[in-house]
Amino acid sequence: MATHFFADTAVLTGRTMRHVTRSLDTIITTAITPIAMMLLFVYVFGGAIDTGAVSYVNYMLPGILLITIASGIAYTAFRLFTDMQGGIFDRFQSMPIARSGVLWAHVLTSLLANVISLVLVVGVALIMGFRSGAGVLAWLAVAGILILFTLALTWIAVIPGLTAKSVDGASAFSYPLIFLPFISSAFVPTDTMPGPVRAFAEHQPVTSIVNTIRDLLTQQPVGTDIWTALAWCVGILIVAYIFANISYRRRIS
């Protein structure tokens, strides 16, 4: 049955991708909140924030991208939850297919849908004056980190998607994730924050990820931040993957 894993996953991913493309509002909703925040921060608050030589839109774009992903994965949980509620999930589970393919289809769809939203947000940022002289390798590194971050958060999203009792429960988990970039270096340099807040901001995952992406885009040396960022992403990914699979096993047996 493992031989069918890729074929089955591809067929099931095609199905969930149709769900995304047929409700384009989910992609637009995912992109519109970060875009609104971007407008607000750049044109309202930005003037009062000192980011040195870097223009504010360049400074805050990495944080906005992470917020985009955090709000995008709420729909991953939602789509999974909806599948579990209807009979279609039971149908798939009673068919001779690779069982983990059902879950992987949702994960791949989450990745693709988030990439579309990220491209939209970057497009708006470009209109707002975002510029980067980063080379191909730096952009690839940025894309790699964003994909890793999306995968990590997606596997987190799978857990409430499988275990939630209500639609609200399935998507509520994403609010703290959306909020996390605000207490980081995403919008304001951390050295302006009072002691304990600063300590939290500097040691939570978002700051290292934001700093890495920002340094890559502004062609600064990335230093050790990139390793901290990768460690966080991979660590979260592994832990979330394990717990998601435990929930899945429990659910299908």
Binding site: R91, S94, S253
Partner: protein
């Protein structure tokens, strides 16, 4: 024509293509299942003959859905054995899944896809050649050709159930489970679904259906088992079940039309507009059947 004739069936039946194992299609012995304190199944025994329609009758909470879930490998029993198409549901789950189709209590269809896309999806997952042709053929057989390109979200309850059953037929599995196939349907849609189920069995497929409607079991089933408080308390053909009660007295009673007769006389038979093709035949097939006595 409304009451299924077992002898006629034997002549008409075409054996399914999937590899068959001899013996009963479903064999269940001493099956028990509890959810914490609640003992849902308390030792169920039953056999379902190949090519028959077997109705598991019971009120809400009798354990019907639990039975179906165990037989379709979605749930593990605490004790007892269950074999489907000769395969043990616990140790040969993959073989069981090759042999069955499940139509769960909630229509197991994808609302966002069209009817045709739903059928193609299942055909692809069963690794069949030419999924498009399979889909078109089933749409025709289940009077859904016109609605085929529409999203399932726009379908009526009866159309959804028909699509659901059509999806279960893909790959020609020898055993099909239908969990409350007509729950929540209007009378017309019910008769359409019954017709679909009869067509299944005429093709030689074994059907195990659960229902809480007595007339449904009476209409469709070759054998009926009554599941009550986690046990099968009666198991037999309709005639055998009727013998459990004292023989009927012969009385002459003026035949009054039932409400169902009135409903169909007033509404007409072809009223839904979602069917195509042979309207004449269709209306004959869906002829109300309550006045056959």
């Amino acid at each position: 024509m409304t009451l299924r004739q077992p002898c006629m069936l034997a002549v008409m039946s075409i054996p399914p293509t999937t590899n068959q194992v001899q013996g009963p299609a479903i064999h269940v012995q001493g099956l028990e299942k509890s959810y914490k304190e609640l003992r849902v199944l308390r030792g169920v025994d039953l056999d379902v003959a190949r090519g028959s329609i077997f109705a598991l009758l019971g009120s809400n909470g009798a354990g019907k859905t639990t039975m179906v879930k165990i037989l379709s490998t979605l749930l593990k029993a605490d004790t007892g054995t269950a074999r489907v198409n000769g395969f043990d549901v616990a140790t040969q789950a993959a073989d069981v899944r090759e042999s069955i189709s499940l139509t769960g209590q909630f229509a197991a269809v994808d609302e966002i896809l069209s009817g045709r896309e739903n059928l193609i999806l299942v055909a692809r997952l069963r690794h069949l050649k030419d999924p498009g042709a399979i889909a078109d053929d089933l749409l025709r057989r289940f009077w859904l050709t016109e609605a085929g390109t529409r999203r399932v979200a726009t379908y009526s309850g009866g159309m959804r159930r028909r699509l659901d059953i059509a999806m279960s037929l893909i790959g020609n599995p020898p055993v099909i489970f239908l969990d409350e196939p007509t729950a929540g349907l209007d009378p017309q849609a019910r008769i359409e679904v019954w017709q679909a189920i009869k067509e299944l069995a005429e093709g030689g497929t074994t059907v195990l259906l659960t229902t809480q409607y007595l007339d449904e079991a009476e209409q469709l089933a070759d054998r009926i088992a009554i599941l009550h408080q986690g046990r099968i308390i009666v198991n037999g053909t309709l005639a055998e079940l009727k013998q459990l009660l004292p023989p009927a007295k012969v009385e002459y009673v003026e035949k009054q039309p039932s409400l169902e007769d009135v409903f169909f006389a007033v509404v007409g038979h072809g009223g839904e507009g979602d069917k195509d093709g042979d309207a004449d035949k269709g209306s004959q097939d869906r002829k109300p059947t309550s006045n056959r006595k």
